[in-house]
Amino acid sequence: MKNVLIIVACIMLLFAPSVYQIGNGPEEPFRGTDNQAADQITAIVPDYKPWWDLHWAPDSFLEGVLFTIEAALGAAVVGYVIGFFRGKNEKLQEKLQK
């Protein structure tokens, strides 16, 4: 029950910004704070040039796909481990009942 409430709260936090926003926000809606920090650096030091370039950068579509793959990989591992503990616990309970 408690866990269901936690999930509901997370979903509400996820959708809250679509309904309500504080302040004006960045020009581009939901621009990442990582990018805004880079913008701010350029605002403070207008002639700052990154002195090292990323070896490559995916376009925004591919970036979305890659982030999804990363999340899926991580979730698979977490799910596997939770499954392991569940199974082990069930076996233990069965043994105790016999």
Binding site: C10, F30, D34, A37, Q40, A75
Partner: protein
């Protein structure tokens, strides 16, 4: 919290690499010890890594109209202590640089420092303190993960302010500007991270109590409920 590639001057970038490296060595040793231990601890370490992968890949919208990532560092810090999470956080960030074009090699030292060192130690410190005060497992975990997430982004703001002090208002002026970008945006995300971390710990508490006992996350007396 990902400072982009090349966006820290070389002196700062190498300074943060230098500061991070001893923690990294410590983390690798700590991971080695866990991997020699029992199967359940190894699996939980895997889950901690997996959780950090998931959470740091989630780009979430915030009520400020910006978006950012949680970090996922809190779970492992609560379960294993802060040392090993430096290694795990480093691997997560390295993965994101290599395959996702996010963050940077030159800034990896600084990013590891904010997420996997400051974040991990804050999570662990908060968790241990609240437990010592007698708060429940769930409440302690929630605040540990939430505050670790916030501390990570405050550290990033500080790192950027140190590197780029404002020509007029100096370090404090720059810090205010960078905090303005990161801090408020991160609050709802940090709360989400705290909630999700609590959820996972609750699940492990219901099904793997013995493993949590062995790790010293919970103690035998008076902790039947999460």
């Amino acid at each position: 919290m990902h400072i982009m590639e090349g966006y820290l001057p070389a002196s700062h970038a190498s300074g943060w690499w230098l500061a991070t490296s001893p923690f990294l060595a410590w983390g690798i040793r700590s991971a080695g010890k866990i991997m020699k231990g029992n199967k359940e601890a190894k699996l939980l370490l895997g889950a901690s890594g997996g959780f950090a992968f998931v959470l740091s890949a989630l780009k979430l919208p915030s009520v400020t109209g910006s978006s950012a990532h949680p970090t996922g560092i809190g779970l492992g810090s609560v379960l294993f202590g802060p040392q090993v999470m430096c290694t795990i956080g480093f691997v997560v960030l390295l993965f994101q640089v290599m395959f996702l074009g996010h963050g940077g090699i030159t800034t990896l030292g600084a990013n590891t420092f904010s997420m996997a060192i400051v974040g991990a130690w804050v999570a662990w410190g908060v968790f241990r303190s609240l437990k010592a005060l007698g708060l429940s497992l769930a409440v302690s975990v929630f605040f540990a993960a939430t505050l670790a997430d916030l501390a990570t982004y405050i550290t990033t703001a500080l790192q950027l302010a140190l590197a780029f002090p404002d020509p007029v208002s100096g370090l404090s002026g720059a810090l205010a500007k960078f905090m303005g970008i990161f801090a408020l945006t991160q609050v709802p995300l940090a709360i989400s991270e705290g909630l999700l971390t609590t959820l996972v710990v609750n699940v492990f508490h219901s099904h793997g109590r013995e493993a949590l006992l062995n790790l010293g996350v919970i103690s035998k007396v008076g902790e039947s409920k999460p």
